[in-house]
Amino acid sequence: MIEIKNLKKRFGDEEILKGIDFVFETGKTNLVIGQSGSGKSVLLKCMLGLFTPEEGTIEYDGNSYSDFSDEEKRALRQEIGMLFQGGALFDSMTVAENVMFPLRMFTKKRKKDLQDRVQEVLKRVNLEDSAKKFPSEISGGMQKRVAIARAIVNKPKYLFCDEPNSGLDPHTATIIDNLIHDITVEYDITTIIITHDMNSLLEIGENIAFLKDGLLAWKGDKSQIFKTDDKTVTDFVYTSDLFKKVREAQNQGL
């Protein structure tokens, strides 16, 4: 579980996060949604320790990040898996080498054990046949799956996903969403997903934080978001015609 309390972050005179409180629950897919510039990425970077907030605390399983020593911060980072928007796979390494990278850096296991673990994880994301390929030789969806494999290979306690579906077709996006959800449940980890994707919201939105102008404007789950009359949320969710029609159908009791 990750709990943020009164989190504030500013750049110069501009206050990006204006005091956010939220609990990201373990074993659930926690979604952070909001328009561009609402502070989602800044929130993510604060939680990853890449930005230092001016005020507030971030607690990992009850322990405040700001109280951690450098050594504890490094140890925590090894418990974090991160899925970047573009995958951020290392171009010069094969799929298997990419997945093995965190294990090679932070474990002292024998090479055979590392290879077995890599095979196991690649099998989990249905990529066991692509182990020897380079990232440039596989599709965008496969790259995302490799990135997921790399993020979970070290059995993290926390999984952060920054726009995991960007650049993917709806079918592949759904596969990625479900894969992230299944892994979250299977590994019982705390997963935080930053997204704009309304389909993701419908598929895996178990605990949703809606940010607007640096504030937490709404929280709930996927069943609640379509019932709310909160205008800030409805303005964001019902931007597309498809979702407007879903809303109308709901109102008509269809």
Binding site: L48, L50, R74, A75, R77, Q78, I80, M82, F84, Q85, G86, A88, L89, F90, D91, F101, P102, R104, M105, F106, F160
Partner: protein, 245 residues
């Protein structure tokens, strides 16, 4: 002010490079890979340039030696001095700023653009050490490249002067040995060592701290080449002033 900020940032980067070290077994592999890419991969162009520039230096000296009172041994002497003191250490280093420097900037810059550096940091890896330290160690073998360049430059000069019929082989060898001072080699390799550090770190700085997209990677490579060349030229002047004057 911006330049001062960049200079400060550069030295902070160096501090970070020698900070928390990457696992030894991983580092060893990276160092060999960098030696292959930065050093072995440059040998062809260095050999080609050194041989022909050495030949041109000898040819130019021979063609401009019209006074019969000046001994022909001067051709080899002039070639040796030009090659050992300036051509190999300085001129080759500027070419390397284009070849190796641009490669370093663009490879690290591409990693920045595609969030690979962020991925390293999030994993808890000291990205400065992981990316730049192996390059610095690999570039410590750069003096061997310059030694090869000196040798091939003189072979080129010999080929042009002796095989071209401008001077006899014995006269050429005598010219090569005339007034030779070992300190000149020390001077040449000392500055080569400094250039190696410059070649590894300035392009790395421009790649690591770049912002933007792929277009900016290209711009960073160009800027890196300009600044690496400028720093090499200025360092060359200072070292020459300190050691030879």
């Amino acid at each position: 002010m911006r330049y001062l900020y960049s200079i400060g940032e550069y030295f902070l980067m160096l501090k970070g490079v020698f900070g928390r070290m990457t696992k030894r077994s991983v580092l060893k592999e990276l160092i060999f890979k960098e030696i292959d890419q930065l050093i072995i991969g440059s040998l062809g162009i260095v050999a080609f340039l050194s041989f022909f520039i050495g030949g041109v230096v000898a040819l130019q000296t021979a063609l401009n030696l019209n006074n019969p009172l000046i001994p022909k041994t001067l051709i080899a002497f002039a070639a040796r001095q030009s090659i050992i003191l300036e051509f190999s250490p300085t001129f080759i280093s500027i070419i390397m700023a284009g070849k190796v420097g641009s490669f370093i900037t663009s490879s690290i810059g591409s990693m920045r653009v595609t969030e690979q550096i962020d991925a390293l940091e999030v994993m808890g890896v000291n990205s400065l050490n992981y990316l730049i330290f192996p390059k610095i160690i690999a570039m410590l073998t750069y003096p061997f490249v310059i030694a090869l360049s000196m040798f091939l430059g003189i072979v080129g000069a010999y080929s042009a002067a002796v095989l071209g019929g401008f001077v006899g082989a014995e006269e050429f060898i005598e010219g090569l040995q005339t007034d030779f001072e070992g300190f000149q080699l020390f001077y040449a390799f000392f500055k080569t060592f400094l250039f190696a550090l410059i070649l590894a770190t300035i392009p790395a700085y421009h790649g690591y701290y770049m912002t933007g997209g792929s277009l900016e990677v290209g711009k960073a490579s160009t800027t890196s080449f300009v600044w690496t060349s400028v720093v090499i030229i200025v360092t060359n002047y200072i070292v020459t002033q300190l050691l030879l004057s």
